[in-house]
Amino acid sequence: MPNAPHPKLPNDESRTLWVIIAFWALVFAAFVFSFLTVDYSNVQVVSYSEIKQLIRNGEVKQALLEDFAITVSGADDFAAATPRFRAVTPSQGDPELLPLLETYGVEITAAEPRGVSVLSYILPWILILGVYLWFQRRMLGQIGGGLGAGGLGPGWLGGLFSGRYSRPNESRTRTTFADVAGQEQAKKEVAELVEFLREPERFQRVGAEVPHGVLLMGPPGTGKTLLAKALAGEADVPFFSTSGSEFIEVFVGVGAGRVRKMFEAARKAAPSVIFIDELDSIGRIRGTGLGGGHDEREQTLNQILAELDGFESREAVVVLAATNRPDVLDPALLRPGRFDRHVMLNLPDRSGRRAILDIHAKALPLADPSDLDAIADGTPGFSGADLKNLLNEAAIQAARRSASSITVGDLQEARDKVMMGTVRTLAIQPKEKHRLAVHEAGHTAAAFYTPGADPLYKVTIIPRGRSLGGTHMLEREEHHTLPEDYLHSQLTILLAGRAAEKHLLGNVSSGADDDIKRATELARSMVARWGMSDDIGPVDLRQREDLVSGSGDGPAARTCRRNRRKGR
């Protein structure tokens, strides 16, 4: 399969070319043919009466009678260079002509009546049919592609089943584990697979079965795709990558067909790596959802399960899948023999961030590489992708100044931009500005005086992104769980803006909208999920399951990160 992906395109073009060539050749041939029959050079066209006059004058020795014309010549031989005369005979017929010729002793030659060739009847039909078929093929080709293994030969409906995974490509720049930083644990686990891909025989000899399915889990931007690429690059094997959503098509069964195709291709290319991104788009728990299931998705999922089972243990094909919602995956995907190895990627810690920054900054002209230390310090909660974005923003800043290197100022500005959004120019009335200042000062004071709160970073009343002002705090490193007093302090900080307005200005405004919403969410989580209310106790009373993503620390950490980043 890898070598016969879309044979349609070049074929189609050459066929079109052939049709055009054939057409012109036919026209040309007909043209030439009609001229070749009679040698018209040296022939003078005259009127019929003149011809008759010539005969009567006795100047004619030869006459050639054709269906609708008469050619006469004064010489004994037609081939001679004497002038010849030609005239069209009247269709009414001239009974005198032949006797006249006989009388003057003209040698009469009659040309065979030119019969209508069969070709002229068939040719138009052939042309019409040809054009029709050609169009039809083209249209089908556009729908389908080439029916690959379907057996109808290349060119029919095939693309539908051939799948849209990107085929291994040798020329691609190799990604190795050296390009992955800040995910040491995950790297170690994936690195084990490299040996298996490199020398599968060694594992077979001792009867070891190597995991075929590896599930990479982690928040967005933590490098799941990168890790998969690095595995393929490190082991130097073909890398088949696709996204879960690409399997799905309007027609039921197409997804399953694509899965089959891809696994088939990967098996042929073994040892190889298959990477399915966003597995949760097809791997969702089956049979859920109201109002009927999702046939296509389920079929695709079933096919993947079947393919994973179908690997013989000696086939060196490793399937990697990435998702940031492992909680919604079908349990059957996670059982041993399928995606049994789970690799967790976390948001990088300080040293991890530093390592990531180092990798991305390699190509950038930094004024002082040690600036990155400060950036790594000040970006807790940033993922690898965030950091890459930050450096890119800094580079853009530097380019805007037409500077040759990126200074610490650029980096700081880029971080503010990534964390808080772009500065917005917004005309704010002095009175409103005062209220804004009061509001933010309330947040800031509460954060400052509450023990155990996150350290403050910056407070601003310059509108950035979607917020009008902001109190920015830096996340404490590595908290995976949130202690109760910390959450209480969060609530206090969130509501302090409103409290300040109320206390210092005497009334409140709509500016606290988002604060109240987030505080309520947090408080509800505290009561209904984490049992932090003595009255109710440790009972799970959450309302809607689908809004929260499973495991304990996920949403909580996320909520708090949001608090910090966009605190308003």
Binding site: A446, F448, Y449, V459
Partner: protein
């Protein structure tokens, strides 16, 4: 799409009540903090209106002027480290 709740309406009401108690307590505490440190907060508001952006050192200069606060010293160092 409405999913059936797995607990009684009465429990839900108690949850709502607990949530609002939590929030009211938090607001009371926030008001308390602002009342206690009103002078400092007003200084902060002035500074904020003048400069529009304040970093941690400037915030500290405003808020720490009069009384020493409960903030442990270690935290300040940590802030200095991670703040910049």
């Amino acid at each position: 799409m409405a999913q059936p709740r797995e607990h009684a309406d009465e429990t839900a009401a108690r949850v709502d009540e607990a949530v609002s108690t939590l929030l009211k307590d938090a607001e009371a505490e926030a008001t308390g903090i602002i009342t206690r440190h009103e002078k400092e907060v007003r200084a902060l508001i002035d500074a904020l209106e003048r400069k529009e952006v304040l970093d941690f050192k400037e915030i500290e200069a405003c808020l720490k002027s009069v009384v020493s606060v409960v903030t442990p010293l270690t935290r300040k160092n940590e802030d200095d480290g991670s703040g910049m």
